[in-house]
Assembly symmetry: C2
Homo-oligomer: 421 residues x 2
């Protein structure tokens, strides 16, 4: 396909999604939920075919010499396929945000004005590796009455296309508008560039993947973007912390699942307790195989740690590596977090009421914790249901982004002939 | 100033705003409101100086041969200066959205999770002509705990700078962080290009002005933008309308103030009542000096109207001009609005309950009216207080954008040592 053909095809698909979106906005919850449940069923009954095309993707990936981690993310097994079905059922079971009237009030002139939640319209999702994102993202978009245009990585193209076909088939049978779920079949990167500029038809782009992808999307998009950046999360252990609690929280935040965005990357410790706390904490980390990198002060208490460089403070390791800094007070911790962090999830461990309040107010992150592990930042753990990602930006959505964040509002106004004077 | 110097200066100002924003986020409502009241006072007591520098701007504008409309927008008089003071007092009197906890809930593991409203941070406002936008926008940003970077049009530079200075002076006296209000002194357009790419320091750009400005900002911005586009607003008069009510609403929507974005630009009329309604309505419009442009069907009932071209349906006249189309039913009206409109404000006049509901659901606009004039789309008229503009986009803010829309949320989580298992 040459550039013109790619452009034409993307415009055709986006326009189709746009047309479908106008109809989707007033499809009932019952119809959407039934479609989601039937999609779950259809994915499970097509497990063998999905495994077969996934095999093809895996073969290509191995030929191309992709890393083991990437191949692992790409691979389906019966359990992962069941996982896709389960996610769709969960989404079907959530509350439908569409049509909800958040507030309604009456003006002195008798006008009744309400804010009603409505779908955003067409959502473009750009993602890498994991083919289960196809059904998770399409399902969540559908729940909120949106149409999705899905552009997965080339390495998963066969898996993504089949999952898309299965969902589209169900959508058709259930009478949903044609174009509600579409997987883009073009692996050429030009398809992304076309997509992110089509603001006539696409209302929102959500990029999910590495920093390079997200940066490229942001720099070239004309469509508004909600970005899901990295998580450089901190735990600050205050001088008034319950040190046993602090130890459990820090261990959990670093070790329980180090490869995710809400894991701790930097530990900040008040100087007054560094002496008693750090050696014990370090021993426990070493036992779990965590590599420690410390500031000069840290090295006094944990001599076997490597010296941390300036770059360490803004590094998302996603691994069993931890940087440690001793600070003189909560204020220094807050400033460190606001300067080096990624505004994702940060925690204080303290028994001091006022410090807890100061930390909550002054740390500029999407989730700020007192006496709990940062690992809870997640739609499911927050009780919001399935999420399409965790927004680290401030506009439109911040933190775990669920079905409600895939809606916007519309003012509805009921009058009896009011005119403005 | 060469390009490098401009860049340096914009970076310096933006960084200063960013530093100030971290402090502004936890300034109390009482302090912010007192500063706003004192700013109102200071602007009024400096009325003579403001008039004097405004005179300078006006002289340059006349020398450059600017249009009378532009010069009118630029000109201050004692009343307009009082208007700036009054607007700041109104803003001071509004409820502070910052710190409000919209929802709070408890999870089975005992975590308490809340959504707290917090300032966005640094807001860049790019605007044209009207120097009163300087104090209106800076005041509303301050109310919501944000720092503003204001870049007004070159024609109003002296007026804008003095208003900025007066506000900064009060901010300093009241102990607000240095950098809470800054007017950019650089009239070179390069300043805008630098500003809209500085996402490290600026969180949101709001462009207010002509389509060209907004398009240029959107195409080049890396900072998220909330755009305030044109208003192509419709009134659809249904076959079941009270025709007297319809006449009053249509007249008001077109004539009461034709130069604003919530005025009607296209009238849609059901064919069953066109015969009785259109000639009477047209006579009333003609009396008010409105030029009419109609579809072929309209011309049968209003022979003196000009034929409308395809371009008329997507034209924002902002003037005493109206396009009229006869439609076969509400569905055709809805489709016309969704296709040609600008998703701003649209109204149906009908006595039919189900049609009213269909119209509300299916019209994809920020404000959808039943039996009232589109002219009410306005922060004040909606009871939201002062507005920074009317967003026609779907992300983050839609419709009149007030102090609450200048905030974002933060999840606050209270634990007692919870870890994830």
């Amino acid at each position: 396909m040459d550039a013109d053909q790619i452009r034409e095809e993307i415009v055709r698909m986006a326009r189709k999604a746009h047309q479908a979106a106008l109809k989707m906005s007033h499809v009932s919850s019952a119809i959407k939920d039934r479609a989601l449940l039937r999609m779950a069923e259809a994915i499970e009954t097509h497990a063998d075919q999905i495994m077969a095309v996934n095999e093809k993707d895996l073969r290509h990936a191995k030929e191309k010499g992709l890393s083991r981690a990437m191949i692992d993310r790409l691979a389906f097994n019966p359990e992962r396929i069941k996982g896709m079905g389960a996610a769709l059922r969960d989404i079907a079971g959530q509350e439908d945000p569409v049509g909800r009237i958040d507030r309604m009030w009456r003006r002195p002139n008798g006008l009744e004005i309400g804010r009603m939640r409505v779908p955003i319209g067409v959502i473009g999702i750009i993602y890498e590796s994991r083919p289960n994102v196809t059904s998770d993202a399409a399902g969540l978009c559908l729940k909120a009455g949106n149409c999705s245009l899905l552009r997965g990585g080339s390495e998963a193209i066969h898996s993504n296309l089949l999952i898309g076909e299965i969902m589209e088939g169900v959508a058709r049978e259930e009478g949903l508008p044609d174009g509600v779920v579409q997987v883009i079949p073009i692996t050429d990167r030009k398809a992304i560039n076309e997509m992110i500029r089509l603001y006539e038809y696409i209302d929102l782009i959500i990029p999910r993947g590495g920093e390079g992808l997200i940066r490229a999307v942001r720099e070239n998009a004309l469509v508004p973007v909600v970005a899901h950046y990295k998580g450089i999360c901190h735990v600050y252990v205050d001088q008034f912390a319950d040190l046993h609690m602090a130890e459990e929280i820090c261990f959990n935040a670093k070790v329980q699942r180090p490869g995710v965005c809400n894991a701790m990357e930097t530990l900040l410790v008040h100087k007054a307790i560094a002496d008693g706390f750090l050696p014990r904490m370090a021993a426990r980390f070493k036992e779990a195989g965590v590599e420690l990198r410390g500031c000069p002060e840290t090295l006094r208490f944990v001599p076997e740690a490597k010296p941390a460089t300036e770059a360490d403070w803004s590094e998302e390791y996603l691994d069993l590596i931890l940087s440690i800094k001793v600070v003189k007070d909560a204020q220094e911790a807050i400033e460190h977090i606001n300067h080096y962090g990624s505004h994702h999830s940060d925690a204080i461990v303290t028994g001091d009421y006022q410090l807890a309040r100061d930390f909550l107010k002054q740390v500029d992150s999407s989730a700020v914790y007192v006496n709990a592990s940062t690992r809870f930042t997640d739609g499911g753990e927050f009780g919001l249901g399935a999420e399409i990602g965790i927004s680290t930006q401030k506009l439109h959505a911040r933190g775990p982004m669920g079905a409600e964040d895939l809606t916007t509002i519309k003012y509805i106004i009921f009058g009896e002939g009011q005119i403005r004077t």
